[in-house]
């Protein structure tokens, strides 16, 4: 609803919106600030905001823990791997539903999406047992596969909503000009689909990067990603707030930065394509 708003009202509204924004951002900001404090300053009473001795000792302490690099690497491999695998399976499926729809296409899509609504606990135990039998428990391959499958409905749905915006006439025109199916996909469809694939990739990477339910349940030490690392770090009440904050900051930094530089994709991805 666009209406004419006076300059003064506009400034007031902007101020209000940014105040709320600051409130919402506060927990994230606080984590980042705390990561630069000494352990003593982190639990100071009353709390200090900006005027403390800034230090990077927490970061070096966390980095020196021999296993941090391992957790980070696991996160990258699992999130990246499941995203790439998911796209490989989902792109053809979404292409087929968007450009060669049948009578059942809509039903299949809704059915796929509805499975994402079901609580993951319903399939946890059978997957757990299957993993024990196949020796996949606490392996990167196993977790990559599970996260790919878990997010597959979302990837297919997202890609479908993007592909549908590509006008079918262009494909027809290409076919009239004698393009084969291969040419059609390679030279016409792919270039137009890149933005949609990019934001699906971003969304899926975020989902996989943040995944806690499956990573906590299916990994122990070898294949555990950053979320498991932080969950293990945070057990004793308030013992290492500053170091925990440093580890947390490093875990959220990639998402914060990627999200900031691809705001449009982030918004569209997180709302499952509802907001353009």
């Amino acid at each position: 609803m666009a209406r004419a708003v006076t300059t003064q009202r506009k400034a007031l509204n902007t101020l209000a919106a940014w105040t709320v924004g600051l409130l919402i951002f506060f927990p994230i900001l606080w984590t980042i600030l705390t990561s630069f404090k000494t352990e003593a300053a982190a639990i100071a009473d009353p709390p200090v905001f900006l005027f403390f001795d800034w230090t990077t000792e927490n970061y070096s302490a966390v980095m020196q823990r021999s296993d941090y690099a391992q957790f980070l690497w696991n996160s990258i491999v699992i999130a990246g791997g499941s995203t790439v695998l998911g796209l490989i399976v989902a792109i053809p499926a979404a292409w087929s539903m968007a450009f060669v729809p049948s009578k059942r296409t809509k039903d299949i899509l809704l059915w796929m999406l509805s499975t994402k609504m079901l609580p993951a606990v319903g399939v946890l135990y059978p997957i757990y047992l299957l993993f024990i039998r196949l020796g996949l428990l606490d392996t990167k391959i196993g977790l990559t596969l599970v996260l790919m499958l878990i997010n597959l409905p979302i990837i297919v749905w997202m890609l479908y909503t993007y592909f549908r915006e590509i006008p079918g006439e262009i494909l027809e025109a290409a076919r009239m000009d004698g393009a084969s199916l291969r040419d059609e996909i390679l030279y016409v469809l792919t270039p137009m689909a890149v933005p949609g694939i990019a934001s699906t990739l971003l969304l899926n990477f975020i989902l996989a990067w943040n995944e806690a339910f499956w990573t906590l349940n299916l990994t122990a030490a070898k294949a555990a990603p950053l979320t498991a690392f932080i969950a293990s770090y945070s057990s004793p009440e308030g013992l290492f707030y500053a170091k925990l904050s440093a580890a947390s900051t490093m875990a959220i930094a990639p998402i914060l930065i990627m999200g900031w530089f691809s705001q449009k994709q982030l918004v569209r991805g997180l709302t499952f394509g509802a907001v353009k």
Binding site: P126, S248, A274
Partner: protein, 290 residues
């Protein structure tokens, strides 16, 4: 052969996704349903014994707490997130400067893992360090805020963090809805001298009913699935005061070695989700096929 391949290609490329989802979702749900009818303990057994696991489940005070928490959590989380999301969307719809950036900031909590942002929340909610210490530092010595360690109130801290996480998401949905309302009608109402709040209450909000419904569905299933929030903030404690069905199931399966209980609780959760989602999908399908 090539011709056959080209005509059937759409089905062939769809098949892997279709089969994967069919097996991994419905196949495994069927397995869970089966095990929930057996006497499985540490290891799954496959002789069907009837509904004993469900009887045990409904007799368990811990499950009772988990379900009660789900009602409290679900109602407050969905209600407050929707109201806050709507207010924020109306605020952002007033031609704000640098709207894109602020929209991203509102959405950040949704993009970050709760396991990670839970650190900050634990600090804020910690009586000795966070909000309580801060307000006491301002001179209000009698101020107490110990919900995190108070068994009767701890579930409300989970609600707070969940609202923080999701209201930006609801805001984005509503904002898109506000933008799609027909401006002609609004202008006509304004020319007739109808006050702005009446325009919102009587015209704009009713026309967004479908968005309310989708927001409700998304929030409801998030509430039922809520797991990492509890793990990050309270670990289900104090005691089991903040258990939700998902953490109950997790505790049964992995620390108590009681697969039968885990399976039956998973089935109940599934039924609740079905009860909410199926009517919605059915109406969606009907609307599309008409």
């Amino acid at each position: 052969m090539a011709k056959w391949f080209e005509t059937h290609l759409p089905k062939i490329v769809l098949a892997p996704s279709f089969i994967a989802i069919l097996i991994f979702v419905y196949g495994f749900i069927a397995w869970t349903a089966w095990v929930s009818l057996t006497r499985s303990r540490l290891l799954p057994k496959y002789e069907i014994e009837g509904f004993i696991q469900y009887e045990r489940l409904f007799d368990s005070p811990r499950w009772d707490t988990a379900m009660n928490n789900l009602y409290i959590f679900g109602a407050l989380f969905i209600g407050v997130s929707m109201i806050l999301g709507l207010v924020l969307a109306i605020l952002l719809d007033q031609q704000i400067r640098v709207e894109g950036a602020i929209r991203t900031i509102y959405l950040y909590p949704m993009a970050l893992s709760m396991i990670v942002t839970g650190t900050a929340w634990k600090w804020i909610l910690n009586p000795g360090l966070g909000l309580e210490a801060m307000v006491k530092g301002w001179g209000f010595e009698t101020f107490t805020f110990d919900w995190l360690v108070n068994p009767d109130m701890a579930i409300y801290t989970v609600v707070m963090a969940a609202i923080w996480q999701s209201s930006g998401f609801v805001m984005a949905l509503f904002l898109a809805g506000l933008r799609s309302v027909d401006t002609e009608i609004i202008r006509a109402a304004q020319i007739d001298g109808i006050p702005t709040w009446r325009v919102y209450v009587s015209i704009i909000i009713p026309s967004m009913a479908p968005i309310f419904l989708s927001a409700f569905i998304v929030l409801a299933h998030l509430a039922i699935k809520a797991f990492d929030l509890v793990i990050a903030l309270t670990g289900g404690g104090p005691g089991y005061a903040t258990d939700l069905p998902a953490t109950y199931m997790y505790a049964m399966a992995f620390s108590r070695g009681d697969i039968g209980q885990a399976a039956s609780s998973a089935m109940i959760m599934m039924l609740v989700v079905f009860a909410i989602v199926v009517p919605y999908l059915y109406s969606e399908l009907r609307a599309r096929n008409d």
